[in-house]
């Protein structure tokens, strides 16, 4: 890194908006689903027709409380919705119903690896705006399908001290909302959005510098790039003895720069006041109990348990618990196989590779965990070697048949019969007297050639270890 990062450190806070995966919108019964034809998921409420009124979605409240509990926040017994007033074409009422003075959750934290904690100032409920498209020419287009979809806004304390930490925080947040089943965490589709606040200061200082806000970040990569860019820019200004302006910036992904937003008017005065169309939002005992009893094992706890219970290294446990679905798959496969380490290798290796290549989720993977477990059992028992096993998996995916079935049908069982191996190995040595001399002359690498020939002759079914041992014995015998 540059010398700047020796002298300066970034002070970073993230504001994350997560779209809640409810069936209907925050304040009306329109579908909250993504991707519909424009303006087909609308009603008087979410288009802001005269006379329409909002009514809050109970499940959205429950989802928000789940997130608050999972991040150790205090959940307000009573909170209030507020109108945030500003004019914009994607904002049908020209105010957004949000929360201001009294957020639903506050005072929580998210733990990063190594014990560092990032404070969570608040989590509150609000409604999303519609979508604005900038057509060619002199117009912009508005689609109100997204208007009114429930959001939670998660505001972190400025506790983050590096781009890597910011990335980790965001990844953990994403993993958490997916674990909780409240949001699908897709930055590219916009169900997870992130704005960053960043200032810089000399290392060791406790002061807070002037911060800038960067918006329009549409992927994890862009978050990292924007933070790195801003850090360099602000540190450069500090080095030169200048002052950073408190700007709001838009990230320009094409050019890789953050540009100051040009606005006609000054900073927004949102004129917040309590939303008179909605009454006090109460979180009662029964809701708290429902959330508590429905809380799944959270990622950090699951990771720790995998290390302890399955004796896996921390790295493996981390990979396996990245999503709840993969973690569940692993555990089912491990139980079916009776072998946690082997199951871990298989899931982290072959299975995740399949998912990544084909860009599918594990729910779409053709091989059930029990079936994978069966395959693992056969391999561990020595009936097939590892390259055969990979073959079998591919056939399982293609045909849906079981591992034992495929092995039997194709006669893939590993040859571990001593006599058969000895006969085949003897044939190989007899056929290649030159190589035998080379080996006996000291070229140990020739062993790989012999094993390869044996594999060819047995159509890959020879037990490799047994083959190697047998060759060694036979060759020694020929020395004398």
């Amino acid at each position: 890194m540059s010398a700047r990062s020796d002298r300066y450190e970034p002070v970073i806070g993230l504001e994350v908006h997560a779209q809640l995966s409810t069936r209907s919108k925050m304040f009306c019964g329109c579908s909250a689903a993504y991707g519909g034809e424009p303006n087909t998921q609308v009603c008087p409420v979410c288009v802001g027709l005269p006379g329409a009124l909002p009514v809050a979605n109970a499940r959205a409240v429950e989802f928000a409380v789940r997130m608050g509990v999972a991040t150790h926040c205090a959940i307000a017994d009573e909170s209030v919705f507020a109108r945030k007033n500003y004019f914009y074409p994607d904002c049908p009422k020209n105010y957004q119903i949000s929360q201001y003075d009294t957020p639903l959750c506050h005072g929580g934290h998210l733990a990063l690896a190594g014990g560092r904690r990032v404070g969570i100032t608040r989590i509150h409920l609000e409604e999303d705006a519609g979508k604005l498209l900038h057509a060619e020419g002199a117009h912009s287009l508005v689609d109100m399908n997204r208007s009114g979809v429930p959001l939670i806004e998660i505001v972190s304390e400025p506790d983050i001290r590096s781009v890597e930490e910011a990335s980790e925080y965001l990844q953990k947040l994403r993993s958490l909302v997916r674990y909780l089943g409240i949001c699908d965490g897709n930055m590219e589709e916009g169900s997870l959005r992130c704005d960053v606040n960043i200032s810089v200061r000399e290392k060791g200082s406790a002061d807070l510098g002037v911060k800038t806000e960067v918006k329009n970040l549409n992927s994890f990569k862009q978050v990292e790039q924007a933070l790195a860019y801003e850090f360099e820019r602000q540190a450069g200004i500090a080095e030169a003895g200048g002052a950073v302006a408190q700007d709001t910036l838009l990230w320009n992904a094409e050019r890789g720069v953050a540009e100051v937003m040009r606005s006609k008017e000054e900073a927004h005065d949102y004129r917040y006041f309590p939303e008179p169309d909605l009454l006090v939002l109460r979180v009662d005992e029964s809701l708290r109990a429902r959330v508590a009893s429905g809380m799944p094992e959270l990622p950090d706890a699951k990771e720790a348990r995998f290390v302890a219970q399955y004796k896996l290294p921390a790295y493996d446990a981390g990979v396996l618990t990245a999503t709840r679905e993969v973690a569940d798959y692993f555990e089912a496969a491990a139980e079916a196989a009776g072998e946690a380490k082997a199951a871990s290798n298989w899931v982290m290796g072959e299975v995740l590779r399949e998912l990544n290549e084909r860009k599918i989720e594990i729910a779409a993977f053709e091989v059930a965990p029990a079936a994978l477990g069966e395959l693992i059992r056969i391999q561990v028992a020595g009936k097939i070697n590892s390259s055969t096993a990979k073959e079998v998996l591919r056939k399982m995916i293609a045909t849906g048949k079981t591992a034992p079935g495929i092995v039997a049908e194709k006669g893939l069982e590993q040859i571990s019969d001593d006599d058969a191996i000895e006969r085949a190995a003897t044939e190989v040595l007899d056929a290649h007297p030159g190589e035998v001399s080379k080996y006996l002359g000291g070229k140990e690498k020739v062993m790989a050639f012999f094993v390869g020939q044996l594999m060819k002759a047995t159509r890959g079914k020879a037990n490799p270890k047994l083959a190697t041992d047998t060759f060694k014995r036979l060759l020694e015998a020929r020395r004398g």
């Binding site: 329109c30 424009p38 303006n39 008087p44 109970a58 109100m144 309590p274």
Partner: protein, 100 residues
């Protein structure tokens, strides 16, 4: 004078209303008098009095179940739009991105 031309200009911006030149002076003066009128509230002792933000004579949940209900067909929504095309509302081009 609490409400002057600068205040009015600021309020016009916030409220997105551009007053006609002949109206501005009159409305400025009227608003100034109205604000002076409501100033009387300053003389009420409200120490320790909670503000009434929401009006309700009943306690109780006012949430709705997360169920889908039929909305409006697109024609009903776009049919009266001053300008619409291809299923979208159309407005003069937005120069920069607004709030997230």
């Amino acid at each position: 004078m609490k409400i002057d031309r600068d205040t009015i200009r600021h309020l016009e911006r916030l409220a997105r209303i551009e007053l006609d030149a002949d109206e501005v002076a009159r409305i400025t003066e009227q608003l100034d008098r109205i604000v002076a009128f409501v100033e009387q509230l300053q003389s009420v002792d409200t120490a320790g009095v909670p503000p009434t933000g929401l009006m309700s004579h009943e306690d109780g949940d006012r949430l709705r179940e997360d169920e889908r209900r039929e909305g409006l067909p697109r024609d009903a929504v776009l049919g009266q739009a001053p300008d619409a095309t291809d299923g979208y509302f159309r407005v003069p081009r937005v120069i920069e991105r607004g709030e997230s």
